[in-house]
């Protein structure tokens, strides 16, 4: 990955550079900058303390001013929203203002003011929760830090996932999703991008395919649930898919209920959404192919399908890879579609949906955590593969 490799340091000279003072070393240290540095350290201590207190169940009862937590009507909510944004802007502005002194400002205080809020947030919201969930996946139903009820179960949760037939169906479905969605979405996106490349009305053609990206997965699920809507054969159909079946003389079909194809009909929705993404990136990559390459190939008598196979595809390989990996990772985590369309019934559940069910419906925290960790573990090889391939293609260049 290029941005990682080129973060070479710009030299030591920029430490504590503030003003064009003749001899900055002699200038007195800015008190306000020191205050910012100390404040950020306190924030970190606070975050760590909060995590520890939460762990030991020792967080003191906090009574928040009621307007901060109980906004009831639209006016109160909008006021709260404006207040929060304003408060945030004021705090950040104050931090920056205080490290922007004409006096000597220690470098670490500036760094703290810029990077501190992000690191504190990540520590509280990603690193600690991630670690906690990892530990939880080796424990039973109860929270692992609950000293009275928690029980260490080792790899039992994972064993359950891989050996119970109920969960094997979930894993099988997830595999089908993760394999099919990227392949079909990338193929369709690529075909469409090639077909409409440099044609009249290209922007409109692109927009039509791209628009589903703006719709929520819940909205898309409802749109497609309506397409699949089933009525008994005697009644008039109101879903388009079944009406088409009736028009060509077939019986209406329960798309979302009948095994084994119902998972495929859910996957259609995800493909419908992701194709636009693939098409956009690939279209840009196709336009970026150097003209010399295309012309050289044309002079050699290459055209049509062979041009596509031997010139276009190799030239956009890095973009194809990125699109494929991105769609794979998105697909892995999607649960909205399954939840809205079938609720995970009729053997359509996937890992992300099962995580939600186990954690928030069954309250089996151990199993829920194991499913979440599984999502994480599946992602790793995909990412490693992507990083290695990109490194490789950069080396070749």
């Amino acid at each position: 990955m290029s941005p990682l490799s080129d973060i070479k340091t710009p030299g030591k000279a920029d430490a504590s550079r503030t003003d064009a003072a003749a001899n900055p070393r002699k200038a007195p240290i800015s008190i306000s900058a020191l205050a910012v540095g100390i404040f950020m350290i306190l924030v970190f201590v606070g975050v760590v303390g909060l995590i520890a207190a939460s762990f030991f169940n020792a967080v003191p009862e906090i009574t928040w001013p009621s307007f901060l937590v109980d906004a009831d009507n639209a006016a109160q909510k909008l006021t709260l929203m404006v207040f929060v944004v304003a408060l945030f802007v004021v705090v950040m502005a104050l931090l920056l203002f205080m490290v922007d002194s004409r006096k000597r400002v220690p470098n670490w205080t500036v760094a703290m003011a810029f990077v501190g809020p992000a690191l504190a947030a990540l520590l509280l919201g990603l690193i600690w929760p991630g670690t906690s969930t990892l530990i939880q996946s080796f424990f039973g139903r109860s929270p692992w830090y609950d000293s009275e009820r928690s029980e260490f179960v080792g790899f039992d949760n994972f064993a359950t996932l891989f050996t119970t037939s109920e969960f094997q169906v979930v894993l099988r479905n997830t595999m089908i999703w993760v394999i099919l969605v990227p392949i079909v979405a990338v193929a369709l996106g690529l075909v469409y991008a090639v077909l409409i490349d440099r044609t009249r009305g290209e922007a409109v053609s692109k927009g039509l395919i791209f628009l589903p990206m703006a719709i929520s997965l819940v909205g898309a699920s409802i749109i497609w649930k309506f397409v699949y809507e089933y009525r008994a054969p005697a009644r008039p159909q109101i879903g388009l898919a079944n009406q088409i079946l009736v028009w060509i003389g077939l019986e209406p079909y329960q798309f979302l209920i009948n095994l084994p194809w119902n998972t495929i009909f859910l996957i259609v929705v995800m493909v419908w959404i992701q194709t636009g993404f693939a098409m956009t990136i690939l279209s840009a990559a196709i336009k970026a192919i150097p003209d010399d390459i295309v012309e050289a190939a044309r002079l050699d008598g290459v055209s049509g399908a062979r041009m596509f196979r031997y010139v276009t595809i190799p030239s956009i390989r890095p973009a194809l890879l990125v699109v494929w990996v991105t769609i794979t990772m998105t697909t892995l985590k999607v649960f909205d579609i399954v939840r809205t369309m079938t609720g995970g019934n009729f053997q359509t559940s996937v890992v992300a949906n099962e995580f939600y069910t186990q954690s928030f419906r069954q309250f089996n925290f151990g199993l829920g955590a194991a499913l979440a960790v599984l999502l994480f573990v599946i992602v790793i090889p995909v990412v490693v593969y992507q990083v290695r391939q990109l490194r490789l293609s950069e080396d070749i260049r």
Binding site: M1, S2, L4, D6, I7, P10, G11, K12, D14, A20, L50, I51, E61, W64, L68, D70, A74, L80, M81, V85, F88, V89, L96, V99, D100, V110, A111, F114, V115, P117, L119, L122, L126, G130, L134, L195, I196, T199, E202, A203, V204, P212, I215, S216, V218, G219, I222, V227, P236, G239, L240, W272, I281, V294, M329, D336, F355, F360, A372, V379
Partner: protein, 313 residues
């Protein structure tokens, strides 16, 4: 989006006034050559079929949302073309009806979205600047760590975070959703902004330093103006993400109607009243009108953001 699209290299040949006899550029030669490509009936056919498949489902629901409830249940939406009817009763019922009250949830979504876009972008901009231009110990290691956090799936963080919110007495308030969205957006945002900041010529920053500007002034005067497109891109990105999110909202605000956004309500409606298509169709369009507008309005920024985030890494 449909007509003007300055951000994309769309076909503008033909609209240009003929500038007298001149040599065609390579791109133009190639454009005229490939122009003939779509004359293949197969290619045209496939493109048209795809375009239809991608629009008809949405169109069907749109037409349904303006048909009377009785017609929706007794005939397909395609009969609307031969028997057009128009009513806003579905929208009226879904927005203000006491059992649906989408107007309330619309406000909730809006109140959730604005801070959840502003806060992470500000924090990420500052952090990205620090990682790109401030020298401090452990910087490279920290940046790699933040970069790696991108692959942590949301699911891993939900329950511990929820338990912290419960402990500090914020559960069921807007704060849970704001904080969560802000935190989850940070790794990608920092990474994207860092990429953009690294592309800015060192000489610009150095010149400002020689003039005696500190980091704060360099950030606001030199880098921020150049980063406007990147910020716009990520704003559209994050706006769509937060507005359309279901998982985070369901986890932290699912149980409190005072906070729950449209997506949560819509999913609930689909589960409990799955046959009431007059409500579901109108509800779905209430939920998607704002993101689609933002999307059309900011499409060129959005595409640019996708390309920067996607193609670079």
């Amino acid at each position: 989006m449909t007509t003007s699209n300055p951000g994309m290299p769309v076909t503008t040949e033909g609209k240009k006034p003929p500038a007298g006899p001149r040599k065609l550029t390579k791109a133009e030669i190639r454009a005229t050559e490939t122009k003939t490509k779509l004359t293949s009936p197969w290619a045209t056919g496939i493109a048209i079929v795809m375009a239809i498949l991608w629009t008809v489902p949405t169109l069907g629901l749109a037409i349904t949302s303006i048909r009377p409830q009785a017609s929706i249940q007794s005939s397909g939406w395609w009969t609307w073309f031969t028997n057009p009817e128009f009513t806003l009763a579905n929208y009226d019922q879904v927005l203000t009806g006491s059992s649906t009250a989408f107007a309330t949830y619309f406000v909730n979504t809006l109140v959730i979205t604005v801070p959840a876009v502003v806060i992470p972008i500000t924090i990420a901009l500052l952090a990205a600047y620090a990682f790109a231009w401030i020298e401090f110990r452990g910087r490279d290691l920290l940046f790699v760590a933040v970069f790696a956090l991108q692959i942590v799936p949301l699911q891993v963080t939900l329950i511990p975070l929820l338990s912290i919110y419960v402990d500090i007495g914020l559960a069921g308030s807007f704060w849970t959703v704001w904080l969560s969205h802000s935190i989850f957006a940070l790794p990608l945002a920092i990474f994207m902004f860092h990429n953009f900041m690294k592309d800015i010529p060192r000489s610009l920053v150095e010149a400002a330093r020689v003039d005696g500007a500190g980091h704060v002034r360099i950030f606001f005067r030199v880098l921020l103006p150049l980063l406007v497109p990147a910020v716009a891109a990520f704003t559209v990105f994050q706006f769509l993400w937060v507005w359309n999110d279901l998982l985070v909202a369901l986890t932290f605000a699912g149980g409190s109607p005072n906070v729950a956004p449209l997506t949560v309500r819509l999913a609930e409606l689909s589960g409990s009243r799955g046959q009431d298509w007059h409500l579901l169709s109108a509800g779905a369009f209430v939920a998607l009108v704002v993101p689609v507008a933002i999307f059309l309005f900011g499409q060129r920024y959005f595409v640019r953001g996708l390309l920067a985030g996607g193609v670079k890494g």
